[in-house]
Symmetry: C2
């Protein structure tokens, strides 16, 4: 099924139903369908050839949804760019991605214009939500295009979308995916989270990332549900949106869930219709899950594990809670997943290996990164970089990212194990453990901790807490308290930033 067909069929079935709610506005499925055709035709008229790159840099708003499906129907490739990139990064990404037509939201005009000066490949700028010299207004583009289905021959295996990964290390890499790749993921999510046409699905993480774009918005459209967009996360706006739109389902990163339960103004009345929460992207502390279920007993928690490169791989369905709390669940019904050793051979139950996947869900390539692509595809698998174990029943538990593993005195130390111990302390809201250089042991663990509002705790207490629960070589040598953490837009703690000062003068950065 092509991406454009998902929308077309939902528009045929639910023409008058709202497809996208945003900021008090509502766009019906029929109108979204027609707008997507208009955009696709306009892009083609602007000279976009099959496989040509259309960039978008925008917060969540209705036009993002139109652009996603419009680009999909144009035969082009949509390059989804973080709104947080610094000008230099933005220029790097736009250049590397061969973007020809750039759609940007008004607040980012200055950054875009600055980058554009050095990017002769960009032929057309389109501005959403305002007017900028040198850019065509988005509405004018829509008005130009015909409402007919665009006359392009598109195949499921054609590339259609690029999202970025690598925010926690090095340069962002463009993950190029086909219609089929994301069709599989849209199915995994729709089926394994039981999203149906009655749902009102909150899109509260940024659409330029795979999680909101392909793991929530796309399945919502596939099912014919209504999506409700939040432009910028904050708890009060989320609560208001949930209440006013009758939100039933949402995808969140753990930080957001923890903000919801810790909200001093928390009021269950805002969440009366909310019954499904999917989360992923970073480890979710158990205390957040427990508090969520206390405060909202009807909420069904689905943990998913996904990655830009492979879509959704595993799902922990709500009926396995609390028994399997801590696991990321079983492989989705339509994907192939394994935990393997270095040679790609499945490890035994309980042994640590790397999570790998193969099949129709796996990306085409890192765009124009042949070396990194070759490094990703090895022994017939796509390698996620995440270490995990799998039990006799097929439930997977993440151990850590392979690059975050600390080797201390020859022993493997997994920061996540230490973080889990820290989360058992009532005062710890969030924590990050990473390795720093040590002349004797090679590396030793360090813990950075954010304390829950209103709590008090000392370094000694934390040290004592760990001493009771962890082998000596796993205990953090340094404990630091921080008011918050540097995070990627999708809520992952950027350990590379925390780690940097300690490693600056070393040659090998492990």
């Amino acid at each position: 099924m092509l991406t454009g067909d998902m929308l077309r069929r939902s528009a045929e079935r639910f023409p008058r139903k709202p497809a996208i709610l945003w900021d008090g506005t509502s766009l019906s499925y029929r109108d979204l369908d027609l707008a997507a055709n208009r955009l696709a035709n306009a892009l083609i008229d602007l000279g976009l050839a099959k496989g040509g790159k259309v960039g978008i840099i925008s917060r969540n708003r209705t036009e993002y949804g139109i652009t996603f499906f419009g680009a999909a129907r144009s035969g082009g490739v949509l390059v989804n760019i973080s709104v947080l990139y610094a000008p230099e990064e933005l220029q790097y990404v736009l250049d590397k991605a061969d973007v020809e037509i750039l759609i940007f939201e008004h607040p980012f005009a200055e950054k875009v214009m600055a980058a554009r000066a050095n990017l002769p490949r960009i032929k057309t700028l389109i501005c959403v939500g305002g007017e900028v010299e040198g850019a065509i207004p988005f509405e004018a583009i829509l008005a130009r295009g015909s409402e007919d289905h665009p006359p392009v021959d598109i195949h499921e295996d054609d590339p259609f979308s690029m999202t970025y990964t690598g925010g926690t290390t090095g340069r962002p890499k463009g993950v190029l995916t086909s219609h089929r790749n994301r069709m599989i993921t849209a199915h995994t999510v729709m089926v394994e989270e039981a999203i149906d046409e009655r749902d009102v699905v909150g899109i509260v993480t940024p659409l330029f990332h795979v999680a909101a774009l392909n793991i929530m918005f796309q399945p919502a459209v596939l099912a014919g549900a209504t999506s409700t967009f939040l432009s910028k996360w904050n708890v009060a706006d989320f609560a208001a949106m949930a209440r006013t739109t009758g939100m039933t389902a949402v995808f969140m990163v753990p930080t957001q869930a923890s903000m919801v339960v810790s909200d001093p103004a928390f009021d269950a009345a805002n969440y009366k219709t909310w019954t499904k929460l999917a989360f992923a992207g970073a480890p979710m502390p158990d205390w957040v899950q427990r508090e969520l279920l206390e405060k909202l007993p009807d909420l069904k928690l689905t943990q998913i594990y996904g990655q830009s490169e492979v879509g959704v791989l595993t799902v922990l369905r709500h009926w396995y809670l609390p028994g399997k709390l801590g696991s990321i669940g079983r492989q989705g019904y339509n994907v192939d997943v394994a935990v393997v050793d270095r040679d790609g051979k499945p490890v035994k139950a309980g042994e640590i290996g790397e999570l790998v996947s193969r099949g129709e869900n796996v990306m085409l390539e890192y765009y124009k990164e042949p070396e990194q692509t070759a490094n990703f595809f090895r022994n017939g698998w796509g390698w996620t970089g995440d270490l995990a174990t799998v039990d006799e029943e097929g439930f997977v538990t993440l151990v850590d990212r392979s690059k975050d593993m600390i080797i201390s005195g020859g022993e493997n130390v997994y920061p996540k194990e230490i973080e889990n111990v820290l989360y058992e302390h009532a005062a710890v809201a969030e924590s990050a453990v990473f390795g720093i250089p040590d002349d004797k042991w090679g590396e030793v663990p360090v813990a950075y901790i954010q304390i829950k509002a209103g709590m008090v705790v000392s370094e000694d207490e934390i040290v004592a807490h760990c001493a009771e629960r962890l082998a000596r070589f796993k205990r953090p040598r340094v404990v630091k308290f921080v008011p918050d953490f540097p995070k990627t837009p999708i809520g992952k703690i950027q350990k590379n930033i925390l780690r940097e000062p300690y490693w600056r003068d070393r040659e090998k950065k492990i």
Copy 2:
């Protein structure tokens, strides 16, 4: 996704879970998976080439499930044959289908041996559930084959299965479908009936028909649910099976549902776990639906409309009842359906046209029937032969089969409209209206009626009942009471048999 992958993935996820329960036995997903490999390898060793035809003639039993997935993995085509065919019909079908290897259940040995005598193409006979001279026992075949995944390169678009249609008119036609065709239908059903891994799915119609095989068993395996097979329908056995296996979901034809609610021994305690009923295949009288809901208030009724040629096209989800009672629902989330005029142009809301479909769900062809295939595929659509209307919201209502339509004095008369009026009479259990020749009007309607147990009614009462509710030209001219109806194995009344005596001496059989 290939058919074999559906089973493989469910076996990876739920190795120890029962895949098939039958007659007190249980086969786990892992064992089904291995048995399917064994059968596939054994078939290949027997000389089955890619696309070669394997026939099966068996009632529902575990070996049917093994055969389905084994054949799918062998690269061959499984020809699913009715156990009810007379010897001459059986020979016709086996010959026409080019069957090389025939798997048959013991009770049908005699019929098979008789047909076989004239079928030199059949190289190997395999007998299930007993021993027959000249046939290899099924277990011996399984014991021969390796457990490894068979080394065949299979593509989604390769043909893999044939079921038969045409039981109500003329010779049975073999509907040849690909892996992809049925993968789409398996998804339609899994998603639109919300089947999940927790379900225990009753297979109570014969597996040789698309309804049990592809519309219920295949989605159950896709979801990783347990299937529970009934060999031969009767209400008492069904009730016992539902109780002992904890059946949660089932597909039934309307006759079966009506037998359940009319069962003098009906006891809701047998159906405590039963929450989902899908039905299709023939019109379901409204009274049956109403009585079901009265007796089993937790039951969720899903009406589906399907056909051997196109799989499932429309679904009426339970939350539209009772508002949309009488409709067959909206198009499934992954299929394209329309109601069109003779030229293939969609009719306006409320107008009568023919139900058509196109896309990945539509069969490859009627096997070796190029003329009938060409007649099926016209103007870019596959034509179902069913007349219908569609309302503003996309809900489809069947009017009648186009070949059942009566033309009386130049007016179109739809038997189903008259049957619906008859069902409003409290004494009518089942009815069939059809056209008989008339010198003045061309054709006039006749009503055959089966009365509910314990009820009494006269022809005059029926005539009066119709006179109040139907225009003169739609009123049945003849009313006959019958103890039961001739039906196809899937429960469709064979109007051709009722009609035959009236038309015998006419040239044109309309």
